[in-house]
């Protein structure tokens, strides 16, 4: 057996069934070894697509997703997907071919220092020196990627190592994980804080999904009676229609959620990291609150805000340890009143398509357990605000890195992993072009992904900021010469529906959900629509902007859309 064959056997041994990748010279022995393997390889049309597809598996199963590329440009093309996985703590094993060991450091053809390039974005990485190392490295790679706070790892395999003969055998998988209980003294301190709190708020993030702790979160919320706010990654931690769920907090959070946090006297941070999009101006965030911080990663505790109680360890155990009644009923009533008062309205009176309403209607018509993969921009925030997620694994969004182009390949990864599930990708006219080539992948494998393109003929989120914070001086955000996306889809052999009026929405949603194979719904919306409310960059979450009277209506100063 050679190193490449042993590598594939070790991956099979780890239970890998899908790999997304793209071949090239320096990884040819591995592609050859794949031919005899039980692993199904999916050819994406760009290595970035492979990395995001692997994330589709990882974010919905909690297991490491595997992607593969050749050396040099193949490896550099993977990097964005690896960085994205690091920022959102997504388990991933990336495998790259490399020039032969003897040629390393000689600027050989397609040599790139992928170890150096990815150092900031991986939990760990290895450049193999011998085929005999493969079993141990693969075992450790999967253990490290999937345990504790998960993240990406990289194995760089020089071509001579792939070709070297070896007698190695796969080793038993190492499924050790950090299930440690929080420190008893800290638990006692946290209980005391909870007991004395009159205005507690549970601030829950992506850690809840990662730890598979949403049942415990819900039990904790119901025991304490405290209102729950979620970060973008946390959405679905308690179901979107749960009475204690107030909304997303932060820059595009709901007013009620931000008010609750700002007025709270105790913030219980559960698998959340006080990200700047969440806190706004940090020293004005929840100014009167004590903090209980639960996280599996000790390095998050105190990174941006000093906790009064630090519960390091398994979130499920930390949540269970604190699930006791509190005395916050009057506070709950106040928060509920804010929630009612500031609830989203969907009764926009105009003829054009109102994206929040389209998404609300699609959410109501789609199965409750549909997976929704987003791209980045206004449409992403509208999904976060208006979709009601049943659990956090249903929502896939690039939060930490905010990578346009994430949505379609991620949806491909989800659909290959969960072939019976409804998988919807919500993209924008800018974002879809970042990985549009993956329509060919959809088509090739007949993956019934439902792709909604919300087309505002603009890089809408950037346009909105230019409107609000740069005196309306638009710079390089216009996409009014977009191709007709429905035609593009059809050229790839994918069914497509195009709409541009509100009255077309109900029929379009029906056809979209009924389609068997891949389908695109291309919805043209008003270019001037903005995401509300909004905390201006650098401002306190207490200072949310609301729409001006005309802001959600078609803006007459702008050219009518050429539809």
């Amino acid at each position: 057996m050679n190193g490449a064959e042993l590598l594939i056997r070790c991956l099979e041994n780890e239970g890998v069934r899908h790999i997304w990748g793209y071949p090239g010279g320096a990884i040819m022995p591995v592609y050859d070894a794949l031919l005899g393997s039980s692993i199904r390889h999916y050819l994406t049309r760009h290595e970035q697509g492979a990395a995001f597809a692997a994330q589709g598996l990882a974010r919905t199963t909690g297991k490491p997703g595997v992607c593969m590329a050749t050396s040099g440009p193949g490896a550099t093309n993977l990097v964005t997907g690896i960085a994205d996985a690091m920022m959102d703590s997504v388990p991933m094993v990336a495998i790259t071919g490399q020039v032969p060991s003897a040629m390393l450091g000689t600027d050989a053809f397609q040599e790139a220092d992928v170890i150096g390039m990815t150092l900031p974005f991986v939990k760990h990485s290895w450049q193999l020196e011998s085929a005999d190392e493969i079993p141990e490295v693969v075992r450790d790679a999967f253990q490290i990627a999937g345990s504790g706070r998960p993240g990406p790892v990289l194995i760089d395999v020089p071509k001579d190592v792939q070709l070297a003969l070896t007698t190695g055998e796969p080793l038993a998988c190492d499924s050790r994980n950090d299930e440690s209980a929080p420190d008893a003294v800290e638990v006692a301190r946290a209980r005391d804080l909870l007991w004395h709190s009159e205005r507690p708020v549970i601030y829950a993030g992506g850690g809840v999904r990662i730890a598979g702790a949403w049942n415990e979160l819900r039990a904790f919320a119901e025991a304490t009676g405290a209102p729950v706010v979620h970060t973008l990654q946390g959405l679905g931690g308690v179901p979107g229609d749960h009475p204690q769920f107030v909304g997303m907090l932060g820059m595009h959070g709901s007013r009620a959620a931000n008010m609750a946090v700002q007025e709270s006297d105790l913030l219980i941070a559960v698998g959340a990291r006080f990200d700047d999009r969440v806190t706004g101006k940090l020293d004005t965030f929840a100014p009167g609150a004590s903090v209980i911080h639960m996280d599996v990663d000790a390095a998050e505790l105190g990174k941006l805000r000093r906790p009064h109680a630090s519960l390091k360890g398994c979130l499920r155990r930390s949540l269970a340890a604190l699930a006791e009644p509190t005395q916050c009923a009057p506070w709950r009533a106040r928060v509920d009143a804010w929630k009612t008062e500031h609830a989203s309205r969907y009764d926009a009176p105009f003829d054009s398509i109102y994206a929040p309403r389209l998404l609300r209607d699609l959410c109501e018509a789609a199965p409750r357990d549909a997976y929704v993969c987003c791209d980045v921009g206004q449409h992403q925030m509208w999904v976060a605000q208006h979709w009601k997620f049943a659990d956090p694994r249903r929502h896939l969004t690039s939060g930490g890195l905010g990578t346009m182009g994430f949505g379609l390949p991620a949806a491909i990864g989800v659909k290959t992993t969960h072939s019976d599930a409804t998988v919807i990708c919500v993209s924008g006219d800018g974002s879809i072009m970042m990985n549009i080539q993956e329509l060919a992948t959809l088509r090739r494998y007949g993956l019934g992904v439902k792709l909604l393109v919300i087309d505002n003929s603009a890089l809408g989120m950037v346009r909105q900021w230019q409107e609000l914070f740069f005196n309306g001086r638009e710079s390089e955000v216009d996409l009014s010469d977009n191709p007709d996306f429905a035609e593009v889809a059809r050229a790839f052999g994918i069914e497509a529906i195009g709409i541009d009026r509100a009255d077309q929405v109900p029929d379009a949603i029906e056809a979209f959900l009924a389609a068997e194979g891949p389908v695109m719904l291309h919805a043209r919306i008003d270019r001037a629509a903005n995401v509300w409310p909004l905390v201006p960059p650098g401002a306190s979450n207490s200072d949310m902007l609301e729409p001006t009277a005309t802001a959600t209506e078609p803006d007459e100063r702008l050219e009518p859309q050429s539809v």
């Binding site: 900031p120 490290i144 000790a298 105190g302």
Partner: protein, 79 residues
Amino acid sequence: MRVIACFNDTALLRLLGVVRRRGFCVRSVEANVDGTGRMNVSLALESDRPVDVLIRQIGRLIGVEDVRVEPAVASVAVA
């Protein structure tokens, strides 16, 4: 600060990378590998960020066995 880690050819790079990215300036480095394959690194650092957070961030690196602030170093250089 003293860091003890399993030595391999990227260990020092990883360590110094974390230090720089997390907002610390390196004023001096001393590193050596002992007979058991352990690398011993002493760093004098400067920053206005809390050093306990950096210690935990370094502690996450695979192969790091021990991270300690040494009082003599801490009092002169580590904020």
